[in-house]
Symmetry: C2
Subunit: 339 residues, 2 copies
């Protein structure tokens, strides 16, 4: 084991109290490509030699100080990866696992993760699928439980062209619950229809809300899965039927939505709430999580889910290349620390 | 039984789609004092000879078409009253009961109510207490259940000088859960402190929010009982600790609040919801309602709760006198159809 490694090290501490969304033009205020000591696993922790790390919106929120946990200056960033277990008190040593970093992040040659959270990967699971099998797939599975529990035979989601959006649409398609997909650009509509969206609402054209109202009246979804948090989302929510729940899990828009129909919370029993995977994992039965990963890997291997790869940047070039990869309209960015 | 009676008859149908709040300068667009046939009870209904009818914010929302059920043109208004059961298939004939009107309202000499919802009144229960023992007291008891379930040793409420607000403060005082009272005018503060408010926040002075933030940090309430629905309320909610619930049950303000910290719903597990007594009664165990009325009457008779009477107008003069009574800063308006 080497003493030192390359990593993208955080330059900031704590929270920024800004709300600028999960985009970034320039990483240099937040990160630096540096030499860093290979971390030592503590009790219950494993050291992972990272094969491929994924880049999620939550990572960008995090490095900008806009996520639900504080930054720690001097530590590597990056939540998620696939890699090999190389140290720690676990029989998984030498195995390929998906992991969620704890303490020392995955945008590095080595990362730390809790042993209890390591997910062994089937040999036939592709590296990009394995690198991204925690955050988006588990969020999709967990939020789709809300959709199933709603009893409605449709649901509505925005940012539907995102990786997570596509996973949700495929779940709806496969389980017979009609996905109503909200996207910004008309160009995204056909791909989502082909994937299984029953309806596609385009917010960019001026008639999106009227189109949505008519669709909502017919299909009567009760769950709105929202990664945007803008006024259009609030307007959608107020156009949904009685007992609708607005489940916010991201903030792509910087607009603060107005509650123009607050009385619907009283008279139509509507609720506005959030979803956070970290919180869900702390409260759900462990067997639900285990079952979810069986389902997730099966879905990837059988082709029911596809990871769209926007691009893979070597760790050494990530400072320059990541912002452009994040601007790709489709697909997910990855970091390869072996290059 | 006479054939005809006097009543305040609704002039409008359905919903208005406005949101102008529970105030009214002139009742004449909505109501007329008219002769009307004495209604005939249907299956499961009783006819009540009204002694005293109460006027709640929900009545004003209703006649203006801003409540959770549609207006019916040509029918008497008024939800709540005390009176004598004079017809219907019930052993309560001849008894004094509190009632909630169904079909034909209480701002009339006679009203219809479901037999299953009649509340027999103790002889020592004063008429104004009996006239108003359903809407406000039951709402207070039901929402205070949320406060108790929160596990916090404080809660926060606005419109705290209202009749319902005072009931909630007294419940907190008697059950050892500190009420944090939000009011518009400094003049209301001392009365609420004397009643049992642990803290009083005055929104009218410019420093209300800073004062609130420091109080919320110390007392850590988890339930915000909101009858106002303005930006100050939203700001309060976002200053509350993790797991806070914003429970909206009224809309005194016409301002649409902005969700400036939507991420707190994700990372701090906060929830925005409504409370509607009608909905609560449909879903709560019947024995909880029965127990609540025992508690309500005991509280009034023992002096733990007091009905503040702004004034009682004869039914014949209500069109002119009610708007002024509703402007009184303290106390509740009543209508006496026997005058």
């Amino acid at each position: 084991m080497p003493d030192m490694m390359k990593a993208l090290i955080q330059l900031q501490d704590g929270y920024s109290n800004t709300q600028t969304g999960p985009t970034v033009d320039d990483l240099s205020p937040y990160l630096a490509y540096q030499d860093h000591p290979v971390p030592t696993p503590g009790d219950g922790q494993a050291l992972i030699k990272v094969h491929l790390a994924s880049v999620n919106p939550s990572d960008i929120h995090f490095i900008k100080g806009e996520y639900g946990q504080p930054r720690i200056k001097g530590m590597p960033a990056g939540f998620e990866a696939v890699g090999e277990v190389v140290a720690g008190d676990t029989p998984l040593i030498g195995q390929r696992v998906s992991c969620y970093a704890r303490g020392s992040g995955t945008w590095a040659e080595y990362a730390l993760a809790d042993i209890s959270g390591l997910i062994p990967c089937r040999p036939d699971l592709a590296e990009p699928d394995a690198a991204g099998q925690l955050v988006n797939p588990l969020t999709a599975i967990a939020m789709f439980d809300l959709v199933k529990d709603s009893g409605a035979d449709s649901f509505i989601l925005n940012a539907a062209g995102s990786q997570l959006g596509k996973f949700l649409i495929a779940l709806g398609r496969d389980q017979g619950i009609k996905p109503i997909a909200v996207v910004r650009r008309a160009a995204q509509a056909q791909v989502l229809r082909d994937l299984g969206a029953a309806e596609v609402i385009v917010t960019g054209d001026g008639n999106g809300l009227n189109q949505a109202k008519s669709i909502l009246k017919t299909l009567k979804p009760l769950i709105l899965l929202d990664a945007v948090g803008d006024q259009f989302t609030a307007d959608l929510f107020f156009a949904m039927p009685k007992y609708a729940r607005w489940v916010n899990y991201g903030k792509l828009s910087t607009e603060p939505p107005q509650l123009t129909q607050l009385g619907q919370l009283i008279f139509q029993h509507k609720v506005i709430e959030g979803f956070w995977l970290t919180q869900w994992m702390q409260h759900v039965a462990p067997e639900r999580i285990a079952a979810a990963f069986g389902e997730i890997q099966e879905r990837f291997v059988s082709g029911k889910w596809t990871t769209d790869v926007a691009g893979i940047t070597p760790l050494s070039e990530a400072m320059d290349k990541l912002p452009a990869l994040l601007e790709q309209p489709d697909g997910k960015a990855f970091i390869d620390p072996r290059k």
